[in-house]
């Protein structure tokens, strides 16, 4: 632990804020994707009402939630340009596919909201929205999986030497990366189901999303186990971080505690408590990954310090972030307060 703190400098602080922004994106933007998953899986006699609740919950906020991703990307290329460059080269294919998903998800959602009211058109855009919402998180997870496995860093050394498959495809088409992709999807769907249970204004709909949340909790557990299973051979750094590092035990206890509280709260229909617990659980998982690959930003070839921009850039970036946060945080509070819903 002391070794960890001793090496914390300006670049680690910036990296930490970047993970914080990613955390915000996962909790807010991630849940919007999860909403799309439940749109795809809407069933039963209340199918249309489920879809209406999803749509009305995310409509006013999804664009603001989406900007967290842009904040992460901009921080990455400002503060760690070498890492951004490596990711852009090696993960060109999955990032491009994710972008197509982002474009289709966002545009289909507004086309459905503002387009012609006829059923065929509504159904077409609804289907596009929900499929894109399901595929995009898998790709995001695959990107994280490929990065944390160390494959990206290794492939960067073979650019120009290895084959196209070897350098630009193999690093992210591993069982581990795909398992992380499915894990990300399960987490986003879990978040969304709990948020929707809070937002539902009647008992029946709330029960629908409670059941979905409990099912998602099981899938999250299974996906986590699968990812850990493949990580043993594919992502030694992650495994070491999650088992050997001094902070690992604390993190496991916190994650497990949050996970159990979330399920118990859902079981006992304590929805607001469940929302806090599930958000905490997802955040602990994200920070677990971040700490596991520390001090690398691209394991195991590029450290945070080695990738960092000049000091003056980092200082100005921090000043800019502080100024931006001073405007942003009250604005976001206002947004969420204005559209706070039923259960609150």
């Amino acid at each position: 632990m002391s070794a960890l703190w001793a090496s914390v400098g300006l670049s680690e602080v910036v990296a930490g804020i970047m993970v914080l922004a990613l955390n915000a994106y996962v909790l807010m933007g991630g849940a919007d994707y999860g909403g799309g998953v439940w749109d795809l899986l809407a069933t039963g006699s209340r199918r249309d009402r489920q879809r209406e609740l999803i749509s009305s919950s995310i409509a006013p906020i999804w664009e603001a939630n989406h900007v967290w991703l842009i904040v992460v990307v901009v921080m990455l290329f400002t503060a760690f340009p070498a890492a951004f460059s490596t990711l852009g080269i090696i993960l060109h294919v999955p990032i491009t596919l994710m972008l197509v998903g982002i474009v289709l998800r966002g545009s289909a959602f507004v086309f459905r909201s503002y387009g012609r009211a006829n059923r065929a058109s509504q159904r077409r855009w609804g289907r596009t929205f929900s499929i894109a919402s399901t595929v995009t998180p898998i790709l995001l997870g695959i990107i994280v999986g490929a990065l944390s496995s160390g494959n990206v860093g290794n492939a960067a050394g073979r650019v120009g030497a290895g084959s196209f498959r070897d350098v630009f495809v193999a690093p992210w088409t591993t069982a581990y990366a795909i398992a992380v992709g499915l894990f990300a999807l399960a987490l986003f769907a879990y978040l969304a189901a709990v948020y929707l249970a809070v937002a539902a204004s009647d008992v029946e709909l709330r029960e629908d999303f409670r059941k979905r949340a409990l099912a998602a909790a099981i899938v999250v557990f299974a996906a986590a186990m699968a990812a850990l299973y493949f990580a043993r051979s594919a992502a030694p750094l992650v495994i070491f971080g999650l088992t050997g590092a001094p902070w690992a035990a604390v993190l496991h206890v916190c994650t497990a505690f949050a996970a159990i509280v979330a399920v118990v709260a859902l079981w006992r229909r304590r929805y607001r408590g469940a929302r806090i617990a599930v958000a905490a659980q997802v955040s602990f998982i994200l920070w677990g990954w971040a700490f596991a690959q520390y001090p690398f930003i691209v394991p195991s070839t590029l450290t945070i310090d080695a990738a960092a921009a000049p000091r003056i850039t980092l200082e100005l970036l921090l000043a800019g972030l502080a100024g931006g946060a001073a405007i942003l945080i009250p604005s976001l509070r206002y947004l969420f307060r204005t559209f706070a819903t039923a259960a609150e």
Partner: protein, 430 residues
């Protein structure tokens, strides 16, 4: 098709697609908030209807702008990783500020669109004003990045690598003010006059519809002054280019030889092999006068510079002629319309003015694309003028024609869908 050309094409397509939505995203919220403000002042229900209609248009166009902007932020790394590794520490700062401006815009657009019944009328109007202001701020920050690529300041180089950076000096480079002003005016002129043109066309068929009359007046209030000011801003821009990017100036003017008292060429087709521009209408001393404010000033021609630092001269020259021509037409028609409005005459009874406005509907967006071509193609072969060549910045990944075609298809489809949606939005009131 080489990988470099495919990457350039994909970037050009993405920017060319996004810039239209960005312009509308800057100007449309201003129009919607003006309509709401006039409604609160006068109580005229037609103005409320107009504010809501424009808000709906803003919502669709903003969303497409937001997702295509996301694509661009990633594409910088997907297509130009070495440019980003080189320039990230400098241009990242204005991009970060743009991120916050965009965040504010997205938050308050959500509040505006869905908050009609949830917040007070005053708060609602303020939310709209914040959307309009933060849209303009995003444009300024993003244009700073492009201005830096044209006139990079704040970097010290040693042996081809950056030895020191001063991001603030980079942001305040010699092109920032001119380019930001030009882009903002372009946004208001293009969007305002496009909306005015649509309603002018509808008024020619049905002169009595109050909705179209109000829409025309408000759209002109945003578009016409900007279109009239734009030639002045263009003059400032051209003089900066003359001083800092003489090769770009020579290309956009089709000036091959260095000469004193250089003529201004209107139209014409540069013949790069013969090193002369044919078929142009030449105004003696015009270029020296415009670019350096002195009729006998020396203008350096392309031949004064190494051949491998010339941009593709033909598209740059033609793009510039097109932009200036369309901009001039927009300024003239705007002057005409403002003259009618200032004399308190009814616009909807001026059938020839309505026709002129209808004709120039797309001019602003075409001029924007042409102007963007001038500044981007005119900087080639550099991605960062004088410091980094575009060919050195491109990703080593082969097969770039595939993602280029993928995004071309995606944008083509989106453009068609958005056009159809906007058309049906217009028809609802026609």
């Amino acid at each position: 098709m080489t990988d470099l050309f495919a990457a350039r094409t994909q970037m050009a397509l993405s920017l060319g697609f996004h810039i239209v939505f960005a312009e509308i995203g800057i100007a449309m919220p201003l129009m919607m908030v003006l309509a709401e403000w006039r409604y609160r002042e006068t109580g005229d229900p037609v103005l409320l209807q107009l504010a809501k209609r424009w808000a709906k248009g803003s919502a669709i166009l903003f969303a497409v702008g937001a997702v295509s902007g996301t694509v661009l932020s990633f594409e910088l790394g997907l297509l130009w990783p070495k440019f980003m590794a080189f320039a990230g520490p400098i241009i990242g700062l204005p991009f970060s500020l743009e991120g916050f401006a965009f965040f504010t815009e997205a938050i308050f657009l959500g509040v505006y669109l869905y908050g009609w019944d949830r917040i007070s009328p005053r708060a609602h109007l303020v939310a709209g004003a914040i959307v309009a202001a933060s849209g303009a701020a995003s444009a300024i920050f993003v244009v700073m990045v492009n201005a830096w690529m044209n006139t990079p300041t704040g970097v010290t180089m040693r042996n081809g690598a950056i030895a020191g950076v001063d991001p603030i000096a980079g942001m305040l480079n010699p092109s920032t003010f001119q380019q930001a002003l030009h882009m903002l005016l372009a946004s208001y002129a293009a969007t305002g006059l496009a909306v005015a043109g649509i309603h002018a066309a509808l008024l020619r068929r049905k002169p009595d519809v109050a909705f179209h009359r109000r829409a025309l007046t408000l759209a002109l209030a945003v578009g016409a002054p900007a279109a009239i000011l734009q030639p002045l801003s263009g003059d400032i821009s051209a003089r900066t280019v003359a001083q800092w990017q003489p090769v770009k100036l020579a290309s956009l003017e089709g000036q091959f030889e260095t000469e004193r008292g250089a003529p201004l060429r209107i139209g014409g087709l540069p013949d790069v092999a013969a090193q002369r521009t044919r078929f142009a209408l030449e105004i003696p001393h015009g270029l020296s006068l415009l670019a350096f404010h002195s009729p006998s000033a020396e203008v350096r021609g392309l031949t004064a510079f190494p051949r491998d630092t010339w941009p593709p001269v033909v598209p740059v020259h033609l793009g510039f002629q097109l932009m200036v021509g369309l901009g001039t037409a927009m300024a003239l028609v705007s002057g005409w319309a403002l003259a009618v409005m200032l004399r308190k005459r009814e616009l909807s009874e001026r059938s020839r003015l309505l026709l002129a406005l209808a004709i120039i509907t797309p001019f602003g967006f075409v001029a924007t694309e042409a102007g963007w071509t001038v500044t981007e193609v005119g900087r080639q072969p550099w991605v960062v003028q004088g410091l980094l060549r575009t060919s050195e910045a491109v990703t080593p990944m082969p097969g770039l024609v595939v993602p280029m075609l993928l995004f071309a298809l995606l944008y083509l489809g989106l453009a068609a869908i958005v056009a159809a949606l906007i058309a049906s939005l217009v028809r609802e009131t026609a």
